[in-house]
């Protein structure tokens, strides 16, 4: 029975907006507990050094200082996929910015003042800053004991006695034969610097060590259960002894996906006899100490025939993981299986290396390696098209995955995957691809158009799951308990819409408990990978259906009919065709009482869950398997204008098309897209870490790390959402959270070629780089 949807698909306003516009929303930054102490940190000034001595006597003697903790007191190893990290550097520092000493004091100012008195002496060691250099035999080994580290066997493959934390392979078909036979070959290299998520709320955690090795944490995190799990593994404490609260979170973008300050906050609380300790990263620490998005050097080789068909593609990805690679190895893996773009490539050879260097370490970042990879792939596609004398749209269309094709991991492409061709066509049309841009007003300005495809599947373990509980209130309202985190993307509002739709009650009667609490909120893996609306949505649907089953069962007894005969509509249960006999949920939500006083049923509590279905591990040699629950495809087209005298670039029009399957909430979806596009613009034009030759981080503040402001947005943006349904998605929806930023740099890079005839291969495309290349070309001619 196809009923028109009441709530799903509507631009419902988010209910948390009121808390946020009034300042009532409490983030971890804002929380305090009685007796709480504050922490400050001493960071390493060296990229690679042995810690020779730590003299903290003056600090310890300062009034108000409660504890001074160093790495030697903390024999714990952190990491899930790769246990390579300490809470504080133990005897070796591996990046400039690594935390070496922590001070706990009555006030933050006292803790900071104490830090300034601490004298750490170092013996500098050799270092390696470039990941390709790090792969050479002569390179300094960032982790000489790599071969002794625990890691997830069968999934990750560190190479002992090297700086290679992981090597992922894709071997599909026979690349060597195919490339030799290709009519035209093209090869090129590309570079991405590390960047930072820049959540407006920096990392913050409050920890309280409780008696009997229990703990309670309040933390700005995307993943309360992953925090709990990793803390359990690290400290050897049962999961149930660890309670994690996540209040409002001021942005995450992947940077708060794994462990951040939690282990440190816990050991500090333990060091002060269990008083709560709050650790808040300064903005400089957020940049310099906390993890980044890995840098990437990629090399792409393509072979194609004159009819435009790609016959072979080879890519080598060298990821700059920084000093620790627990999350980085995942990105190296995911990027490999996505690493050829949304194209049908029968012969594909990919090597993805995750390499240690002496720089701040990488972690998940919106896009999970895909922006970095597609910077290479989508730029390569344009250049290959040119080598063939083909239009870039025609060339891509010739090769985009279509039903009947297989991906590079051997996954069959079906109509349920969505329609990448349609995405390409609509953005090309929106930008008037066939026509050259209008002439700019000034002679020194030039315009160009470019486009790029995007694709991504959730990068997650094959056992990823989500669960939800719905309990009904006395008044028939529903409370959703779930521990995915809404840190701005709006998923909680979407889940309320889904629950209201399924339960057949007004949206105003559906609530979602904002704070996640692992004591009460049921398990969710992590709020990453653009999977929360999909998996959470499915879990909520199942939970709602469970509630309705309970309601129907009790209503059936009350009305003396079979449960199959009961329908639920408008917040009431009644036998089909007899709405006059309706029993409203309020009379069923805590059980039903007959006229004579007999009561049946009881509190209605529905539960639902969703586990990734049908996923397989990737073959370690060939990378073949099924890693993707669903793929989301999209495209961008962009028109730019460049001032050839200054290198300044203006975005005139930026069009984005994403095949969302089903837009669960157009207003929130639009917000995600615009936000992602602008964040992508930051990566494209301005953002990148700058290090000196000693590996010292030079721009750990907004003065010299520039993110887009309101003045930097494109003159015009367009968002087009396609709805080719995703089988298995809630109402046919796919995830779209990461996708809007993934191919922004590539689209702009392609437009720059159109405007200037110059191939840019290194991000960011800042004005200085653009001007330098323009001048080089002028000098050469």
């Amino acid at each position: 029975m196809a009923r028109e949807l009441t709530y799903v698909g509507k631009p419902v306003a988010r209910d948390d907006a009121v808390d946020k516009v009034t300042g009532a929303a409490q983030y971890t930054h804002d929380l305090g507990l009685p007796g709480m102490l504050h922490a400050a940190l001493v960071l390493s000034p060296h990229a690679s050094a042995r810690i020779a001595s730590i003299d903290a006597r003056d600090a310890e003697a300062l009034p108000g200082v409660r504890a001074v903790v160093t790495g030697k007191q903390l024999p714990y190893r952190l990491g899930l996929y790769m246990q390579d990290k300490r809470i504080l550097a133990e005897d070796t520092v591996r990046y400039q910015g690594e935390a070496v000493v922590a001070v706990v004091a009555d006030t933050l100012e006292t803790a900071r003042a104490a830090c300034r008195t601490i004298d750490v002496t170092y013996e500098p060691l050799p270092s390696v800053l470039d990941p390709r250099e790090a792969m050479e035999d002569s390179a300094h080994r960032v982790h000489p004991d790599l071969h002794t580290y625990d890691h997830m066997e069968g999934v990750f493959f560190p190479k002992p006695h090297t700086n290679i934390a992981h090597h992922q392979k894709i071997r599909k078909g026979s690349f060597e034969e195919a490339i030799a036979a290709a009519d035209v070959r093209w090869t090129g290299s590309f570079d991405n610097p590390p960047v930072q998520h820049v959540p407006m709320e920096t990392h913050a955690t409050i920890a309280q060590a409780l008696p009997q090795r229990r703990m309670e944490l309040w933390t700005s995190s995307q993943s309360p259960y992953t925090v709990r799990h990793l803390m359990s593994v690290c400290f050897g404490i049962p999961h149930a002894s660890i309670r994690v609260h996540v209040p409002y979170v001021g942005g995450g973008f992947g940077g708060k996906a794994g462990l951040g300050l939690e282990p440190l906050a816990y050991v500090l609380s333990d060091a002060v006899g269990g008083r709560p300790v709050k650790v808040v990263a300064t903005r400089e620490e957020e940049f310099n100490m906390l993890p980044s998005r890995q840098g990437l050097h990629s090399t792409v080789e393509i072979g194609a025939n004159r009819d435009g068909k790609i016959v072979a593609l080879k890519a080598t990805y060298v990821w700059d993981a920084g000093a620790y690679a627990d999350y980085g190895v995942n990105i190296g893996r995911a990027a490999a299986y996505s690493g050829a773009g949304p194209y049908c490539i029968d012969n594909c050879w990919i090597d993805s290396y995750v390499v240690y260097t002496n720089k701040v370490y990488g972690t998940a970042y919106r896009g999970f390696g895909h922006l970095e990879v597609l910077w290479g792939i989508e730029r390569a596609m344009d250049q290959m098209a040119r080598a063939l004398g083909m239009d870039p749209v025609a060339f891509r269309s010739r090769n985009l995955l279509k039903p009947g094709d297989t991906t590079i991991t051997g996954e069959p492409f079906t109509p349920g995957h969505g329609n990448p061709q349609q995405c390409l066509d609509v953005v090309a049309e929106a930008i008037d691809w066939g026509s050259p841009p209008d002439s700019p007003d000034d002679a020194h300005r030039v315009r160009g158009k470019g486009l790029a495809m995007l694709h991504k599947a959730p990068a997650m373990p094959t056992f990823t799951s989500c669960s939800a509980v719905i309990k009904l209130d006395e008044d028939g309202a529903a409370d959703i308990l779930i521990s995915g985190v809404d840190y701005g993307q709006g998923t909680y509002t979407v889940l309320r819409q889904v629950a209201a739709e399924e339960l057949r009650i007004p949206l105003e009667k559906v609530h979602i408990t904002w704070e996640c609490d692992t004591a009460f909120s049921p398990y969710d893996w992590q709020t990453v990978a653009s999977r929360f609306a999909y998996m959470g949505g499915n879990a909520v649907i199942e939970a709602a259906q469970d509630c309705l089953r309970q309601i129907r069962s009790v209503a059936a007894r009350a009305l003396d009919v079979s449960p199959d005969a009961i329908v639920c509509e408008d917040g009431a249960a009644f036998p089909e065709g007899q709405p006059e006999r309706a029993i409203p949920y309020e009379q069923l939500s805590l059980g039903y009482t007959f006229a004579n006083g007999n009561s049946i049923g009881g509190p209605v509590i529905g539960h639902g869950r969703y586990i990734a279905t049908g996923l397989t591990h990737l073959d370690p040699e060939t990378g073949q398997g099924l890693p993707a629950q669903y793929w989301t495809y999209g495209a961008h087209a962009v028109e730019i204008e460049v001032d050839t005298q200054t290198g300044e670039i203006e975005i005139l029009n930026l069009v984005t098309a994403i095949d969302a399957g089903k837009v669960l909430n157009p207003k929130l979806c639009d917000g995600q897209i615009v936000g992602g596009v602008i964040q992508g613009l930051g990566s494209a034009l301005w953002e990148g870490f700058v290090f000196d030759e000693n590996g010292r981080f030079l721009n750990p503040a907004f003065v010299d790390y520039k993110i887009p402001t309101a003045k930097d947005i494109p003159r015009r943006t367009q968002r087009i959402l396609l709805e080719n349904p995703q089988p298995g998605g809630p109402y046919g929806a796919r995830g779209v959270a990461e996708h809007p930023m993934i191919s922004i740099p590539s689209a702009i890079g392609n437009a720059l070629y159109d405007a200037l005839g110059i191939e840019f291969t290194t991000l960011p495309l800042d004005y200085e780089r653009i001007l330098r290349r323009i001048r080089e070309r002028t000098d050469a001619s």
Partner: protein, 165 residues
């Protein structure tokens, strides 16, 4: 220590503060007005924006002692009698709120704008919030919200004029 008297959201607060305490620390730690946020501590991100005698300033770069005898308005004073202001409601309606961390600063900057210019152009709106960094929304919805608030306020004024109120 310095004795100061500051009017905060219409209430006069008396306190004794160290010279080194910033206005931001005073508001958050002393008065428990945690709606104003710290995003960078160096006046670059605008998350700490409050109104000082009606003008937007970054409170992380002001000392509490400098606020002696002055009036400060924070986000907590924006809603009156439990009713969201036109600005706040517009932010809700226009989808201008995602993680919410930049939101109080944005609203204060917008309030400051309306106080000096009841009919700002798009360019003036952008200029007013250019000092407020946001990582989630991409700014479009925020500009739309301020535009919406402007139009609603001006419509109300026009109506008031017509009704003779």
């Amino acid at each position: 220590m310095h004795d100061i008297r500051v009017t905060v959201n219409g209430h006069q607060e008396s306190a004794s503060v160290p010279a080194t305490q910033t206005l931001l620390e005073f508001l958050r730690d002393r008065l428990a007005l945690t709606g104003t946020k710290e995003g960078c501590g160096i006046g670059e991100c605008g998350a700490c924006t409050v109104l000082l005698d009606g003008r937007p300033v970054t409170s992380c770069l002001m000392l509490a002692v400098e606020a002696d005898g002055r009036s400060v308005e924070t986000i907590e004073g924006e809603a009156v009698g439990g009713e969201l202001s036109v600005l706040q409601q517009a932010f809700v309606d226009a989808g201008a709120v995602q993680c919410g961390f930049c939101t109080p600063g944005m609203i204060m900057s917008a309030r400051g704008l309306f106080q000096r210019n009841a009919d700002p152009s798009d360019e003036e709106i952008v200029e007013a919030i250019a000092g407020n960094l946001c990582r989630c929304t991409g700014y479009e919805a925020i500009v739309a919200a301020i535009r919406l608030a402007r139009d609603r306020l001006n419509a109300a004024t026009a109506k008031g004029d017509r009704d003779g109120t």
